[in-house]
Symmetry: D2
Subunit: 469 residues, 4 copies
């Protein structure tokens, strides 16, 4: 139903546990709590100290695993991965964790992020005789580890990561140890938790909550942690870089109940709404969120503006992947499957509609027209983040620049296109004030890329479809 | 996931359309909009004027039908049905519409409701040589129609319905006509809409909205409508009875965007919350809804009380039917899969938690303990309807009286059981004031049954499991 | 793959067991041994003495049942059914055993055969108010039982069967007893076996062999057997008729290892081949069977003629239901998927090809051309039964008369159509001599119908598709 | 159903076509004709001249591919593979063709055979930094090709194959060319055919027959053929070795309608039976084959001995993969599901039972006892090949030596174990005389290995389960 969901998409979530009974089921639950970060495929690799065991499937976590598959995942250590479907299709060969045999035994790796020099490294490795079974950056990292000279897994991982540039939050499992790494900029989130004595790692803290664990702290940018029989050791082997976690995690990606780098996602969204109300007030009768992601910002907007907050759009809980559509066209069909307007609430009213972002604008246009058809007298669109004008190269699925409506048009032009009576975006200052002191990557809003992409128009996700499956 | 969802459940939703192109797909969309009324099975029967075509499946509407099954449903008239799984299991033989051949051709029927004299009629019909392939009341109605002497389908339906007592909202399709009936008390809702010139019928108006149609009016209690080539005729062939639509449709069953008998479900829920705030105020820091059904009442409560409304519980969008559970027990596991607490919001706070109803109390107990574990200092439970003390015999799946916690325990005792600091239910007067002038069945709260059940302890859903499949 | 299999088809197989541990699994195995009699659907109904339990599915026995479904079939008594897909499609509502509730409790029935007055009885029953959920004759029998006045199940069954005409081998299960009946002509086979002390019933004796039981005797034409707690009683309540078992069971339907009415199917087929060799000799180099059904007849032919018997056609063991076909036409594609010619064996040879029957002739034509393409110098077709010229009304799926090639064309004309150098059918005398003393129905060869059909051109399988599913 | 099928198993079949419309569907049909060589997985890779397209699935060819998957396989060149499930399970990651990207583009490879130095090469490659995603030898070959220095694909393949030892019949597809290779001993069969102008390659000639092509000749041992836009070129780049095609292809693996190295499989099996009759005659009443593989040998035995040939065992056509078994033991259950005895044929008779081979002997024991239980007076077992005493290292799935009954016991001891009145195997001379002039590998009978295995007891299929999936 991507046509009806005009958002950037996070590409992955990762999870790891070391030294806990039923590591397989804990990872299953952790992945379930991270399901919003990727619904295409799910995978778990466990170690029983002697051998790795892998299960990967296309689909959601609950569909991918059963009691029967759990029995094929013995051992007390595990890593897991959920993946979002990027353009070009859904293939089991791209499912993670990626698991291989190499000179030192077996290795499994789960990766959230994207390498900016991945293509160059791949060409170099192929020149040395490496073969590639997938199109993912993760395989590049595995080849680098396999060719590294270091004595321990930790040594080899650090040696490999010295070669790569870009975004990575990684969990790597061998028969006997777990290595966890976050890139020096800290583009993607990664957190450390604990369950009884067992360390846990996850993209977001609610994964710990679900399985009864506790959040300890964020894994730091540039930190590499190794866990084995002798315990857990934290190291910082790379040159330090400015902290650049993705600000869009607060805007849309992360769960509202996540707290990342000390800041509550839910509270930051309410502050974005309040800042937007101060910055772009409007004389309306109602404030209506686009559920679910626009709800906290709308609450903040309404409270700050002293306006009634109402669920003027009702979200369906039964949206699946495909839909039969009548050949006779139904107005607003796509958006209506997901959101239905409350006619008696909207009729004759001036309405401020609060959404978190606009990518292509097509859904906003359908939405505004549907609200107006339901009787609204005026529809004012308020977006709780700045205009998204630049593609991401650090692990987010974004369209090319030419498809980003705000890259080519002004808010006034966009307002006309989506047929809104007015449109305002949150200014970057308001966004920064809402998420705290700074140190975030906001390249999608500003084009201010922490690592320069080789070709800004060439989205890295699309580069290598050599063998299609 | 019924363990984690302590609610009464509506048993069915019905839909019908007469004389529209793609009647099959319109019915498919109508049933999708009624999906919340039943997820066990879905069925569509169409007529092309000469013959009926049926497709029934177990599962949700989207899973049940494909472009391929649509092609097996030709014709411009159709009825559809979604069904909730009552105790005793999920069987294709109980899926509706029920379709048969009889002396006058073919007949399909979709039924929302429950007959109070169904068992007696069944015994009588069996005594006359009738055979029964299902355990549903609907088959009783079909047998009565088949044995009726009337000349037209309308005559036979009316003759059959004169024999039955209880709750029914029915849509009945033959090769050439559609008959729609609502019982004289009007226990279950039923609405009339229009799409271009074609009449539509559905349990709730949002089904019309989704497919681009318009709501016209409620079908009246005791009204029988016949639609055929010569047009639509409304009749009132039965002795009039006091209007008794199910008040629980407002409390929980119906969609928030539905307007039933002129009253907005969403607004009525906000009024229930406001009435509850006036009736049972509490000195707290936050008002937190149990999403999604508790949200409007919590908004009403918070506004009336002048308290902050916050999403202290985050609902998962990825809850499926079965879940792998670790053998090592996880605290609050069941409820946590569906709802996760926002620790940083709840910690140290006095919280009013707003839910719509309590059936057995087990989920509430888990919920309150989970909120307290997340750091809440005080947890006050406020229920936006009166205590549910009596089983329903008019088409709602309720447990036996002995399983209804409020049938045996006072609110104070229940508060102790669920470990809440305080517990208050909305008084019946507050409920009635919220939904309007009266004329509702509230037997589940009061035991004041409009039609006396033969044996109040004998829930009708359980009576006939003779051949199990 | 019906296009590639030009045969009459048996419509069903039935099985029953009374008073044995694991009656469900014994029935499962019995049905597996009868799988050749029907691959469309399979069903088992068991009784635990108090209640019936039913499981019916579309597909083959192995696909239909699992350890899980077995657990839903408790009790020591069971009946089962496999069904062939007749024209008009495959629908779960036609799967048997048919199970209902009626005035005296529950009832399940499995039927092999076809009633010649089924349609008339159905009209009569509908006139009395009966409703029909399927198009099968079996439902007619159930209605008659339900309306019968008799005190015991046996009495009611006999009363019902006095009304019906035609072919039936029936097994009927109630909570406490099993009634087994074979029509007075004995059109369809039915056998009695034993496993330890438990009586078994099946369409063919190999069903007993598979589960370790023993064959006792055929159930006699007109015999009705009742088995209950007090033991087994045999009765002959109907007026005696001439014995008329279907001779085509020997020609094609039954398993080669079956012995029916004292005659081995395998030996009778060899005798048909030998008789054909005496009657229609031919000067050839090789005798080649169309496997598998033509193998025994070809062995008999070759031995009698003193000619080499060779597998010139190799049958694939991997034929499924659907096949992807290239758009560029492949010669003999259909038949070749099932049978491939041995080029080096056939090249330059004069070949006698032995098949059991020809229905429409299209497959024979493809087959003869394929053998000639593989290099055969002459191809002489020999059919080990007489020309099939008349449809069956007693439970076999046959096309209308106009589609039977031998109804309109002489053997010489058919030889030209199928491009054979010569064609000969076995004469009826040769057939009768091969199967023994007489007392068989051979209406499909002779048009000599034991019970006159109301309309010989109106195949009973096609009469009632009122509600399509 | 492996318990009931005591045979060695071929591991794979391969197919290729270059430059034909609908290469995908031709490959599909070719694989279907090779289905007996492997039922675990099937895969097709096509090239449209610019890119490769791959589809691999677990299951049989018909289950693996649909019209929809065919549309994902464009282009006029294709290779395909079917695979048998070796010990250790069925995993999609081992399905072939194996497809990768490397420095020169994309590459897909399908392999029938087994490398005797595969493990050593793998260790060497891992030492150079290669990673392995599967446990198959095929991946070793791919790594060698990727590291080769040659300019063309042909050069790189030859360079890689110079490093390997053992058995391989290979088809290798790049974007623009097809390379086909058979090892210098010619262990596994490989044939060249033609369809109009397009060259075809397949493990056995019946694959050409099915799709309307013609057999041209065997690919020679040591031959490497390259097909590209400029046509087809045959080369012999390796040092010549003695011809050593697997003799077991004639005994059991190949289709009866295959002609390999000029010898008809069907005729050779009849000759084996005849030779056995001359060598080990027995005074019996009947010769009975174990169908289907024992049929031609039994025909040869019976003709030579002048004894009646009868199908005393009837094979079921409905054997699937799993079976529900009653807990009360049924005699001969396993073998009876597949083969049922004809009691009336066997009773009181002295029977010679002809089978093609014995591996563990458990099935033979059940079979002999079942035949005796069916009334046979004497059961004499005759095996149409010598005792299988040695494991295979050239691509056949054989158990360890200790599990081969003939490795430890004499025919007399085996006769006692299987309870036969006598047992005789065909002598090696009789086998060689039946298949022709010599030049076959018969190491499984003689231990005379053309290439010495590093550890004869260490079956190569079991060596590398490092990451289990």
């Amino acid at each position: 139903m991507d046509d009806f969901d005009d958002h950037f998409h996070d590409e992955c979530g990762v999870f790891a546990v070391y030294g806990a009974p039923e590591a397989n089921k804990l990872t299953y639950l952790g992945l379930h709590a991270l399901q919003h970060r990727g619904q295409e495929s799910a995978g778990i690799v466990t170690s029983n100290g002697k051998q790795l065991f892998a299960q990967r499937r296309l689909g959601r976590v609950q569909e991918c695993f059963s009691e029967e598959t759990m029995q094929k995942l013995p051992g007390s250590c595990a890593i897991g991965h959920v993946r979002y479907s990027t353009a070009g299709g859904t293939h089991i060969k791209n499912a993670q964790p990626f698991a291989v045999d190499y000179a030192h035994g077996s290795l499994a790796i789960a990766h959230n992020g994207n390498l900016t020099n991945g293509l160059a490294l791949r060409k170099e490795l192929e020149g040395l005789g490496s073969i590639f079974a997938s199109t993912s950056d993760t395989e590049v990292i595995v080849h680098l580890i396999a060719r590294a000279q270091g004595r321990t897994l930790y040594d080899r991982v650090v040696e490999a990561l010295r070669r790569v540039e870009g975004a990575y939050s990684l969990v790597i499992l061998s028969e006997s140890s777990l290595v966890v790494a976050r890139d020096p900029y800290g583009f993607r989130p990664l957190c450390l938790g604990i369950l009884q004595d067992a360390p846990l790692f996850a993209s977001e803290p609610p994964a710990f909550e679900l399985l009864g664990g506790e959040f300890i702290r964020d894994v730091e940018p540039g930190e590499v942690i190794v866990v084995d029989e002798s315990g857990m050791r934290s190291t910082y082997p790379f040159k330090s870089k400015p902290r650049k976690m993705c600000v869009f995690e607060y805007v849309y990606f992360a769960r509202p109940d996540a707290v990342l780098e000390g800041v509550s996602v839910y509270e930051s969204r309410k502050r974005m709404g309040a800042a937007l109300a101060r910055q772009s007030p409007v004389d309306v009768d109602l404030v209506v969120p686009v559920p679910d992601s626009g709800v906290p910002a709308a609450m903040g907007y309404a409270r700050e503006a002293g306006l009634p907050f109402e669920f003027g759009l009702i979200r369906s809980h039964y949206i699946g992947r495909t839909f039969i559509e009548p050949s006779q066209s139904i107005r607003h069909f796509g958006v209506k499957l997901k959101l239905q307007p409350q006619r008696q609430l909207l009729a004759g009213k001036r309405v401020a509609v609060i959404d978190d972002s606009i990518v292509r604008g097509t859904t906003s246009r359908k939405l505004v027209r549907m609200i107006r058809d339901a009787g609204a007298k005026e529809v004012h669109l308020r977006i709780s983040s700045p205009p998204t004008r630049w593609p991401c190269f650090y692990g987010i699925d974004t369209p090319r620049r030419s498809e980003l409506i705000a890259a080519s048009y002004s808010p006034e032009e966009i307002a006309r296109y989506v047929t809104a009576d007015s449109l305002a975006y949150l200014e970057p200052e308001g966004l920064h004030a809402s998420v705290g002191s700074g140190g975030f990557c906001d390249a999608c809003f500003t084009g201010d890329y922490p690592i320069a992409p080789s070709n800004p128009e060439d989205s890295p996700q699309r580069r290598l479809p050599l063998v299609a499956e």
